[in-house]
Amino acid sequence: MRFLLVEDSPDLARSVRDLLALDGHGVDWAATLAEAEDCLAAAAYDLILLDIMLPDGDGRRFLQARRRAGNDTPVIVMTARAAVSDRVDVLDSGADDYITKPFDVAELEARVRAVLRRRGGAAQTVRSYADLSFNPLTATVTIQGEARDLRNRELRLFEILLNAPDRIFSKDQLCDRLFSYAETVSDNAIEVYVGRLRKKLAGSAARIETVRGLGYRLTCE
């Protein structure tokens, strides 16, 4: 997916961009509202991540202006403010959702998915691998025409593996991606979810392979 990140702190912007890139997303960065206008004029984005406090103005004003102009690219506001009034303001201005800094990439992705799902999604989000196609928005895997619903963690696990087929992910790596750092999860939790995902993928040419002592990878015959 292609994001436009409007954020004035270069450090944060760079790291968010890098992090999203790791998951295979394309991110353009605009440090000001003016730069954002330029980017939006030049390219189409699936979603805009918008900070509120920007050096050349208030993100909410920018958002209102865009909505009035009939531009309906989904927007998630990244806010450092927690007050209700601010949140209400943000939604009233036309944002689809907001996320409070600092955020978990997993949470951001979950919200992005939720927003896009609500908006009916974009066709190109459907991805194919071997004999299956995968729609992360609807969380369905279609194998030879048969649709199977993935549950949240199964979906995220599948996404991680699908973003780098054939790459081996250690249990730790998967654990870090799948669970919040706020919680402690036992190693066999990963084995449980891998087992569930394998069942969902049964009958497909794609499969999750256990590389003994190293971890898991997605391959196909």
Partner: protein, 458 residues
């Protein structure tokens, strides 16, 4: 030392009374001098007329001049205040009758128009009118001078009497001025009292400028008051802005650190590094949450002080909070449901405080819930209270009471593995107290924790 600055009313009354006293004294002197002059003018007119009348009745007779003093004239002149009377008639410079040692005027009058002067005679002050004319005796024209003098003891007595009356009048005026001053001072201060009442009746968050009609003289005071209100409003909004700014300035760098940590974690394969990175991210998470809750807590305290109550739909807030937390719950495959009657459930309170409390309750519930469980928000209404129950299927409280848990920075004994600041329940408890509600934390038999926030119905 007395620093009250004294009473305006006393000052005003004192000044009014002083003015009345000055007016009374002025009245006395004015009446006195006017009465004196008026009495003198009247008596002079009569004296002059009498003198002229005597002069006019002088006739040249066979032997000399016939003088006919009118009894009535003298009787009347004397009757006015019972004055002593003296007269002198000179013909050709020789006194023919009357008091020949009576003092003459400084300048000899030349016509029948009387000349008045005052002179001492026989031990009294005499007011004398002098009239001159000429008569023909034989064949010569001779000058005649007629003078009538009068003491003015009666006039002085009349003036004294009038002055006494004026003094009484002045005194009466002064005595009357005192209660009138008190009354008028009262009426002057009415607008001030009204203004004070209008300001006192205002709500705690009513920082509109004062627009009540006030007398022109109070305009500077009202302007100053409005200036002060504006500054206060500015300072308060600065406090709110400060909280928001502080949040921004703390969270943005934390976000950077967290994101960088996550990237590093993804890219590193060294187990020791990964462990350290995990600890770092966890630390950031904890700081962010603590900062967030500290700011929330500050906000709760600040708004409790400035409490403003309005009718708030608790059901609406619960749904909004549930929706906001849905993606977070989803990540843990925790189902978040709102149960209870559709339609508004109005409570008395400050929407920001209520939302803050709800967020903390829901956040706690999700945080302490196990994977693939449910958190239920239930709304109910009873005995003038609206109650929101947040029920999870988590680990429970392990016996810790609410009193203990709602203490600041105190956490349960069974939550060391979960990030938390220990301020969440403190905030909820304080909100409940500020809004006149109740907060109860229980462990139901089927397990988990049940948090109930009750607020007075609107």
């Amino acid at each position: 030392m007395n620093r009250t600055g004294g009473s305006l009313r006393a000052r005003l009354v004192l000044q009014l009374v002083a003015v009345a006293a000055v007016l009374a004294v002025m009245l006395y002197f004015t009446v006195r001098s006017t009465a004196d002059r008026a009495a003198e003018a009247t008596q002079d007119a009569i004296l002059g007329a009498a003198t002229t009348s005597i002069a006019e009745q002088l006739r040249a007779g066979e032997v000399g001049v016939e003088v006919d003093l009118a009894y009535a004239t003298f009787s009347m002149l004397g009757a006015m205040g019972q004055e002593s009377l003296f007269y002198r008639i000179d013909i050709a410079g020789k006194t023919v009758t009357g008091y020949d040692d009576m003092p003459l005027p400084a300048t000899v009058p030349i016509s029948l128009a009387p000349v008045f002067f005052t002179s001492a005679y026989l031990g009294s002050e005499l007011r004398i009118a002098a009239v001159a004319r000429s008569i023909v005796i034989g064949k010569t024209l001779v000058p005649v001078l007629v003078m009538v003098g009068q003491t003015r003891q009666g006039q002085a007595a009349i003036a004294d009497r009038l002055a006494n009356r004026a003094a009484l009048l002045g005194l009466g005026f002064f005595v009357l001025a005192v209660p009138l001053s008190l009354l008028s001072a009262g009426s002057v201060f009415n607008p001030i009292n009204r203004l004070a009442e209008a300001v006192r009746r205002r709500g705690p968050r009513d920082l509109r400028p004062v627009r009540d009609p006030t007398p022109r003289e109070l305009a500077p005071l009202v302007a100053a008051l409005n200036g002060f209100v504006a500054r206060l409003r500015g300072a308060l909004s600065q406090t709110e802005t400060f909280i928001a700014e502080a949040a921004h300035h703390i969270r943005t760098p934390l976000s950077t650190v967290r994101t960088q940590g996550e990237i590093a974690l993804r890219q590193s394969t060294d187990e020791a590094t990964r462990t350290r990175l995990r600890a770092m991210i966890r630390g950031v998470e904890e700081s962010a949450r603590s900062a967030s809750q500290l700011l929330d807590h500050a906000m709760v305290l600040y708004r409790s002080d400035q409490l403003e109550r309005e009718a708030v739909d608790l059901s609406q807030i619960a749904r909004n909070v549930a929706r906001a937390f849905a993606p977070t719950a989803e990540l843990k495959e925790v189902v978040l449901v709102v149960k209870g009657d559709e339609g508004p459930m109005l409570v008395q309170g400050d929407p920001l405080l209520i939302e803050s409390a709800l967020r903390n309750l829901v956040d706690n519930a999700i945080k302490y819930s196990a994977e693939e469980t449910a958190v239920a928000l239930t709304l109910s209404q009873a005995e003038g209270m609206v109650t929101l129950t947040v029920q999870d299927q988590g680990r429970g409280l392990s016996g810790a009471g609410l009193a203990e848990l709602s203490r600041r920075f105190t956490r349960g004994g069974n939550v060391a593995d979960v990030v938390g600041s220990g301020l969440g329940l403190t905030i909820v408890t304080e909100v409940a107290a500020a809004l006149g509600g109740r907060f109860v934390l229980t462990e139901p038999e089927q397990g988990g924790t049940c948090a109930s926030l009750s607020l007075p119905q609107a």
